[in-house]
C-alpha cells in the first residue's frame, strides 16, 4: 500500500513511475539497465579487487624483503663469529671432536651449539619491534675421519654442516654452509721440523696471498704464505698480536711460529661453502 502511494506520488511530481517489488520477467521486459550495469560492475570489481589485492601483497612482501635480508646478514655474522670462536675458544669443541670416530657418533644433528653473543646483540637491536627474537647456530656432523685413517699422525678431519636459524615475529630465516674442520696435533718438539707436519696441497686449509691478511690477523693455525715477499710477511706476522699461527711457505719451511701456545691441538676450519 505504501509503495503504491509512493509510486503515485513520484509519478505526480516527477512524472516517473517505479514498481518496487515486481520482478523483471513479470513486467515483460527483456532486461533491466540496472542489472546490466551491475553485471558489468561486478566483473570490474572482481578483477579490479583481485589485482589490487595482488599488488598489496607485492608491496607487503617487498617491505618484508628488507627484514629477510637483515636476518640473512645476522646469520652470516653469526657464522663469522662462530668460526672465529671455534678457532680460539674451542676446548669443548676439540674434546668432542677428539672423541668421535668414523664408526659411529651420537647426536650428529646437534653436535655443537655456538654462543654468538655479538650477533645476538645485533639481532636484538635490529628486530627490537618483535618480542623474543631468537638466533641459533649449530654444527651438524656429517663425516668424521678417524685419526687412524688420516694419513698424518695427530690429525683429524671432519665435515660439518653449519646451520643458522633466526626467528623474529613473522620473519623466519635459515642458512646452511658446509665447513671442514681440521684438528692438527703439533707436537712441540717437532715444531721446527716441517717434514713432520707434511703439508701437501690438499692439506692446505688457508692460503695467504696478501700481507694485509696477515696484518689483519685473519688466519690462525697453520697458514701457507704464497706471497712474493716472505721477509715482509714475517715482519707483519711478528708485529701483529692477533696473528697466532704457524706461517710456512708452500714447500714447508717455517716463516713464523706463533701457533697457539695453550695446547698441542690447533683447530682450523676450511672455507665455508654456501649451499
Amino acid at each position: 500500500m505504501i509503495t503504491k502511494n509512493l509510486s503515485a506520488y513520484l509519478h505526480k511530481i516527477f512524472n516517473v513511475r517505479i514498481r518496487f517489488f515486481e520482478p523483471v520477467s513479470a513486467i515483460g521486459q527483456k532486461g533491466s539497465s540496472l542489472l546490466v550495469v551491475l553485471g558489468i560492475l561486478s566483473v570490474i570489481f572482481i578483477f579490479g579487487f583481485g589485482y589490487a589485492n595482488y599488488l598489496n601483497g607485492q608491496v607487503y612482501f617487498l617491505e618484508r624483503e628488507k627484514d629477510y635480508e637483515a636476518a640473512r646478514l645476522i646469520i652470516k655474522s653469526a657464522f663469522t663469529e662462530t668460526l672465529y670462536l671455534l678457532n680460539y675458544d674451542n676446548s669443548e669443541f676439540i674434546k668432542k671432536l677428539q672423541n668421535v670416530s668414523s664408526q659411529g657418533f651420537s647426536k650428529p644433528f646437534d653436535f655443537y651449539q655456538a654462543k654468538v653473543e655479538a650477533s645476538k646483540r645485533l639481532m636484538k637491536k635490529i628486530f627490537e619491534k618483535y618480542d623474543n627474537p631468537s638466533l641459533k647456530v649449530w654444527l651438524e656432523l656429517i663425516e668424521p675421519v678417524d685419526f687412524k685413517i688420516s694419513s698424518a699422525p695427530g690429525e683429524k678431519f671432519a665435515r660439518f654442516k653449519l646451520h643458522g636459524q633466526l626467528n623474529a615475529g613473522i620473519i623466519a630465516s635459515r642458512l646452511e654452509y658446509e665447513v671442514i674442520a681440521r684438528l692438527a696435533k703439533i707436537v712441540h718438539e717437532n715444531r721446527d721440523s716441517t717434514y713432520y707436519i707434511k703439508l701437501t696441497p690438499e692439506r692446505i686449509f688457508a692460503v695467504i696471498a696478501k700481507d694485509e691478511f696477515i696484518e689483519s690477523g685473519r688466519y690462525y693455525g697453520i697458514c701457507v704464505y704464497t706471497g712474493m715477499d716472505p721477509k715482509r710477511a714475517k715482519k707483519a706476522a711478528l708485529a701483529n698480536e692477533e696473528f697466532k699461527a704457524l706461517l710456512v711457505t708452500p714447500n714447508g719451511s717455517v716463516i713464523v711460529d706463533k701457533a697457539l701456545p695453550t695446547g698441542d691441538f690447533c683447530l682450523t676450519f676450511g672455507p665455508a661453502i654456501a649451499r
Binding site: V16, I27, S33, L62, K66, G217, R218
Partner: protein
C-alpha cells in the same frame, strides 16, 4: 485521467530516469575505484623500484666491507648514488666490537612520494 496501465506499456519502451540515475551513480562509484587502482599501481611500482635499488646498494656496500675488512673503511662516510628516477644517500659506519670484529652499518636514505625513507642493514665483519 490517465491510467497506470498505459504508463506500464510506455515503460517497456525505455528506462526510467531513476533507473538511469542509480545506474550512473553505481558506475561512477565503480569508475572511481578503478581510477584509484591506477594511482595505486603507479605508486606501488615506484616504491618497489626504489626499495630494490636501496637494498642492492646496501648489500653491495656490505659485501665490499666484508671482502676488504672493516679497517680499510673510515669510521663514518657518506656518498650519493643517482639513478634516473631518484637520489640515494648512502651512510656507512664502522664500530669496533673487539680486536677482531667490527660492526658495519649501512643506511640508505631516499625520498618516496614526498616522505623520507630509510633502509638500514648491519653485518659483523673482521677488522
Amino acid at each position: 485521467m490517465m491510467k497506470f496501465v498505459t504508463y506500464s506499456k510506455k515503460r517497456i519502451l525505455g528506462f526510467s530516469l531513476v533507473e538511469v540515475m542509480i545506474a550512473a551513480a553505481i558506475l561512477a562509484m565503480g569508475s572511481i575505484s578503478v581510477f584509484q587502482l591506477f594511482t595505486f599501481t603507479t605508486r606501488s611500482t615506484r616504491a618497489i623500484y626504489n626499495n630494490s635499488v636501496a637494498l642492492n646498494i646496501a648489500r653491495t656496500t656490505l659485501e665490499q666491507v666484508e671482502a676488504l675488512g672493516a679497517s680499510k673503511f673510515p669510521a663514518q662516510s657518506a656518498s650519493e648514488v643517482k639513478t634516473d628516477r631518484n637520489v640515494f644517500t648512502v651512510e656507512t659506519s664502522m664500530s669496533k666490537l673487539s680486536k677482531i670484529f667490527s660492526q658495519a652499518d649501512v643506511v640508505v636514505k631516499y625520498k618516496e612520494g614526498g616522505r623520507d625513507v630509510k633502509l638500514s642493514l648491519s653485518l659483523i665483519v673482521y677488522n
